[in-house]
Symmetry: D2
């Protein structure tokens, strides 16, 4: 089952600078050969359910190893069986509407 | 790795009455022998990472089988390595603060 | 416009013990005379849009005053125009399904 | 108080094609002269708290007027008092870490 995910990981108890932890996650997602798009508030991911959630678990493990005692993660995940849709398709379908008007 | 999750599943394309789908998920979580607490906007879950996310995947599969072409799910998940914490602990720690004052 | 909200506030840069901040928010919501239900991963709120979001803004202000340099908040909010629905109605509609089967 | 928001609006009860509703929200945010960045799973917004949440309320009103009986919206919002940070800063801080390694 293919899934499209928006991932936002918040390490807690390591101060206010979270970019080292987010960068570590980007590397994990990249090594897992998942399609990703970093944005200002998270990372969009496209892949198979098992692989995506295995990578998210790995992110938690690595961030704990980096010293974060606590992590809260927000995952918004979408599946659909009516048709195949990519990260690019999702943006294009909105932009097409905006252009038409 | 133990995880505490807030799960909110939104079937899309099946009208406005979502309770049959939420009830089906409650049964899946219960059959998976996970500790759960239903609340007005979702379900809190406590369990091992693998088991919790296998159950969430099963929820997606079953809701699609029930006829929903599309699903968006919001998972907030927390892990911590500094101490063990249950669903009840989380509520108690806030209530203890409120009582003290 | 009435809104039902699930509020999860995460102060960042103040260590791992977040309950003093959550308790402060509970007091703000209570003083705003909003209907609330604390649960393990957040607080459910029922009220008028303007009042609910004014209270959430006040939570951010107070948590910053308490010393948190950074806050991330997750708000899931629902509105509907087909019928009136309370926090209790939402739980009851799922529980009714579970009992019926 | 400045806020950075990730907005994900899910109209319920209008079928599976949600892009007309998302496009309508993009127009509302643009007319409100907020800085926005559309991504595959939502829209990032940067602005003053009052203006951002007034625009989000307007999105709910317009989507209901367009015929959606029910809406669930997920807002992740961040404020910080330690320093000013833009949408671009947030991406750059992660990318700088990735390049350095």
């Amino acid at each position: 089952m293919k899934v499209i995910v928006d991932l936002c990981i918040i390490p807690i108890g390591v101060g206010v600078s979270l970019s080292p932890y987010i960068a570590a996650c980007e590397k994990i997602l990249s090594e897992a050969q998942l399609k990703t798009q970093l944005h200002a508030n998270g990372t969009n991911i496209e892949g198979e359910w098992e692989e995506v959630f295995a990578a998210i678990k790995r992110c938690h493990e690595v961030i704990h190893e980096m010293g974060a005692p606590r992590i809260t993660t927000i995952v918004r995940c979408g599946t659909r069986v009516d048709r195949d849709q990519s990260l690019e398709d999702k943006i294009r379908s909105v932009q097409a509407r905006l252009t038409k008007e």
